[in-house]
Amino acid sequence: MRSKITALGALAVAAALTLAGCSNGGSTPAPTNGGGDAPAPSEDFKVVAFTSGNQTPVGAWWVKAVTEKAEELGWDLTMVQGDFDFQKMNPAVESAIGQGADIVFDGYTDYASIGSIVTAAKDAGIPIFAIDSGTEPTDAFVVNVTTDQQVLVDQTLGAISEALGGLEGKNVMVIGHDPHAGIRMRASLAEADLKAAGANIAGGSIQKVQSPATGRTEALTLVADYLAANPNGLDAVWVGWDDAALGAAQAINEAGAKAVVTGSDAVAEAIAGILSDGAFLATSMQPWPEVLDMVIADIEEYRATGTLPSTNFVAVEPTLVDASNAKDITPSDQLG
């Protein structure tokens, strides 16, 4: 009995020490004050910022960048990091709004998932500014700046078309992931454009990856199985995001097939893949630092004059990354 109590005591002490040691690191579900050591704000401008995607490289960069901007601009920032857990994140954001805020800032969280936050902000009479939080205009936001999905698709399909000498009669697999609004939309656009260009959609329709966590292995398996059944049946694979595209490229390289692959995100590994002369042909870089600057300018304008942005949806052009410019691109997972 005594040994059990000693063991439990040791565990409790170890846990307390670990928590104390880690108290400045990692994400927290509860609202945290990002103002930290910043000088006292000249004007009390309260911002509630949140993202569900803080565990993704771009989401993690956004948290850091917004926190730095808040210190620089003297915002009183409450940052909520949701870990893709809306049941945990939404009440935390609503609670922060209830404690008094001037604006809400949404990073990379689709408006479909934050209905209760939109209602709370409306009830409080404060605007929501957003980055990449939906693919279509919505009254939920006073502005949502994202990338132009049609241009992204045009650029990546253009790269495939150039590599294959046209799309007519070519077998192209499209790999998507429905729960992500952006990927869902661009995969649908790619499928429609490929059909319009006379290409055959390999497998008959969009191949759907079920989980982003296992996207690479799922895409690898999908393409490997397809190539086993149709050894010369694939000319290209269009994939909605880089991680799965890397799996598709690996399957093609391992099978010794000639097909090319495009992705989207411009992560470091994809850029390395493009430079390695393998199946990875191109990806798309979405200009998140510039997008953040645009939204922050809108927020500062609202703070200074009370003027809201003139349009609630802005789509900026992404940049195609291929062998010609890959060396000059800052990977999206190394933004900061």
Binding site: K4, A7, L8, L11, G25, G26, N54, Q55, T56, P57, G59, A60, G203, G204, S205, Q207, K208, V209, Q210, S211, A213, T214, R216, T217, E218, L220, T221, L222, A224, D225, Y226, A228, A229, P231, D243, L246, G247, Q250, E254, V267, A268, E269, A272, D333, Q334
Partner: protein
Amino acid sequence: MNTPQTKSTASIAVGGAKSAGRWMLQGGTVVALVLLIIFFFAMRPDVFLSFTNVRNILYQVSILAIIAGAQTIVMVVGDFDLSVGATSALAGAVAAAMMIGGTPIPIAIIVALLVGLVIGLVNGVLIAYLKLSAFVATLATMTSVVGLAFLVTNGTTLFNMPEAFNQLGQGRMMDIPIPVFIAIIISLILWFILRFTTIGRRWYATGGSAEVSRLSGINIKRARLIAFTAAGLISALGGIILAARLGSASAVQGEDNMMFSVAAVFLGMTVIRSGAANLGGTMVGVAIIGVMSNGLNILGVNAYVQQVVTGLIIIAAVTLSSLRHKER
């Protein structure tokens, strides 16, 4: 005269139906595997049993086979481990981070294996000595281990490991991928341990009845501790091979291996008469999962439908397993 004849015929018919039912119950999983193979072969005779595709299936299930082997051990002692997937991801991430930082490959692999061993040890202490339920303990360690993996990877995907390391997952011997050989070797070792060693028999005894085992003089706490520690170590090996196979490591890599490993063990429990977890049965379960996924992909079946079918097969397996227990 007629009456006895009728009785006799009826009794033969009933006996036949009973024995057919029992045969289905006892051999259902193996029969299901054979039927699946026949079905997919009939649908695509030109492809399904070709060397390339069989190699494909073996390659795709090799890492699951290793992790399912780990799960088999803890299920033999009557528990289960929800942290095997997270442990494998952390081990892969640790090995990758160390190699990218310049640590020699063997040292990085050894450290990653030790990470898995320590996680297994923690699970074992919590469950065997502090008497936490396996569900709560391994759920908690899974949560912490995923957090550690995010800290190790900084939320990104680690890549640019040495080519020699990647060969461990991508290289071939006699045109067969190396992970297939590793999975076979690990499976044979585990089968030998479970069947022929003292600790293997103690694990089975503990899983059969902890109280009887204790009264028979078996240190069941130590047996469970060793089982979880071994599971952590083997899961870590699976994660290292997965990192080499993909040439990269992330915090959530291979997270579906936990669910599929439990499913494979449940499928395998119906293979033997006792209805206990066993390695041969687990490998049949792994084969069913691999054949299903590959066959449905080849037939172009929608991924969501595949998920539904996989769930139904797990339900069928658990039902069969439950019926076996009732029969005993």
